[in-house]
Symmetry: C2
Subunit: 410 residues, 2 copies
Amino acid sequence: MNVAILGFGTVGSSVARILCDLKPEGIRISHIFNRGVARKRVDWTPSHVVWTEDFDEILRSDADVIVELVGGLDPAATWVRRTLEAGKSAVTGNKKLIAAQGIELDRLARTHRAHLLYGAAVAGGIPVIPGLRQGLAGDRITRIEGILNGTCNFILSQMESGVAYAHVLKEAQRLGYAEADPTEDVDGYDARAKLVILSRIALRVGLEVDAVACRSIRQVEALDFGYARDLGCTIRQIAKAELRADGVSAFVGPTLVPQRSPLAWSRGTENMVLVSGQYGGDVVFSGHGAGGHPTAVAVVSDLIALAHGSHPVDLPSRAASISGEFQLRHYVRFVVKDTPGIVAEIAGALAAERINIDALFQRPGYKKDNLPFVVTVEACAASALRRALERIAGSAWLAQPPIDMPMLGE
Amino acid sequence: MNVAILGFGTVGSSVARILCDLKPEGIRISHIFNRGVARKRVDWTPSHVVWTEDFDEILRSDADVIVELVGGLDPAATWVRRTLEAGKSAVTGNKKLIAAQGIELDRLARTHRAHLLYGAAVAGGIPVIPGLRQGLAGDRITRIEGILNGTCNFILSQMESGVAYAHVLKEAQRLGYAEADPTEDVDGYDARAKLVILSRIALRVGLEVDAVACRSIRQVEALDFGYARDLGCTIRQIAKAELRADGVSAFVGPTLVPQRSPLAWSRGTENMVLVSGQYGGDVVFSGHGAGGHPTAVAVVSDLIALAHGSHPVDLPSRAASISGEFQLRHYVRFVVKDTPGIVAEIAGALAAERINIDALFQRPGYKKDNLPFVVTVEACAASALRRALERIAGSAWLAQPPIDMPMLGE
């Protein structure tokens, strides 16, 4: 099986490295493609490898499988499409592409009797896609809760020890865990693409990427971890999707998770996926979700599966209406200029939306004109809580806008 | 694809139930086999199902796949063999059979162009076998550490709160988590069969089942958990196998695991598998390892894979010499009749085997004639430690034989 690698960056060169080291039976690197390929050239690949910057040369060649690692929608989408149309198989780690066009590309692959594998698109080194596709096909998965973005997990697990967001972000950038522009990661778009892919495989529903609500972790402050701890929780960026009678609920954003939940155990850049099945109960996968080598392991595993004629179980997904509504408890943190009557106003706004207050916490040691305190509310729809918070949005006593986060159960 | 279910006990009836509920495309139950089948008959299976106690009838029939859930070596081995020889595929959850004869049966399947799947043989509802086979084939796995027996995990995690072994065992038996004769579970034989199967798939080595050293959890006492806690650890039945330059090290037995290790998080009957890859680092799988439904999910997933023509990646394994030696720290708990010179004697016996003492702990509140204390030693071979303990085995000051357990690193 001749393999052409498109994109010789961190992951692409790791794929080549592992293939050269492990020499899996029946797999041969035939081409390596990169823009300005001359400067990418290395001396440790087999001498027969053709280094090229001409995609059409690869398409015309005897390459059987193309590994797309250039990322982004364009031109990756065109290249994968043309690969499949030529009856060649494709392996990709491109979450953006698979989230947006996976169903269509799967169909294209079937039409041309080719295969499309993307085990590297979600949680790189953790075999969550093969695990779900091959190993849990016999269950009816009803819920996914995941930590799907290593950057956010690094930032939030560092903030646990009291460090401010801005400091940890800088540290993450210095270590290469975060981009100069961290938007994709911290605002949830990266995790959202992965959640859409997992929902397709596990819940068998096709979700529109843009329809999934995302909230940023930027608004989380170090003091929220103190309150979370008092509640027996910590804070993680959670991507959650759940089957409901009338569709699917899904969201991505900072969330309180109980200390006793496996989701609270993840540290650093670790990823974790918890799926709940009707028959098998909860299953947890965790490990290193990103980085050159772990992601390359997923790519090479897909190549080995192809070389062994082991095609993934291809289960149909259906379109589903999507909502951001979960009936969950919520955490709301206010920072106020203390005056009499604030709690009464907040309680009134919540009562108007029929939301019950669960508890009220105030840690000592803050100034009266910048006083944080936390209200937790009983399970309610996020939309009702937003409406309640809008009722008090203009109040003079708010020193800054309140932040609300859902709380997962144990 | 016509499916015959052999054995209509807890797992067999769960398999039938899930197939009737989910109706996976292309799968039809054709036969249900059980001894005294009349009393097993239920009214919720399709009317076309043939209920039989004649295996040969199934072999002659149009059944394409046989699901073997009778367990044990005999007659299960004969039936699986005859199934494969007839060119039919087999799905089994029989860990004993696959541990002892898996390599041979895999070969037989290949010869007859049939397939043998056994995702249910290890950690039932956790897709560890498909995860390793499909998802981590592209890595070089060098180490497996697992909690592979739910009964032991239930017992040991309950003992954490200070309850004695005998009490917890009775409770486990009452709840149906432990057999009347718990030998297979508590003495490690069940976990050992699973470790041998995982070693074949993950480490690609064929181990003789009997060659893997097993130690019983019966000797662990509630007080050991107190000492373990002082050491930042807890105690779990660990099944561990590791590739070494000269073969494989493997053992099963009670082990100190750091509180910060995922292995310490497992509670109740949960199973957990931690694999370490040269490229992808550590990956953790956890979930419900046993019970009718979780095990049935693994069986049904294998059936769906067969129905979709998705064969597992079949990677060769090699025979390997096996040893029980790991260079690990060890915990040794003594119970003594206190007299002067005991520590000097122990230190002398250890020194004679060139083992360094790491620390010595003694909790207050025990009587002088039945005084427990703990010695931890620096990394050493288990055999050297055994020799050292044999040197003092006859000492009059020993109130009972010492217990030693390896300690895993973080």
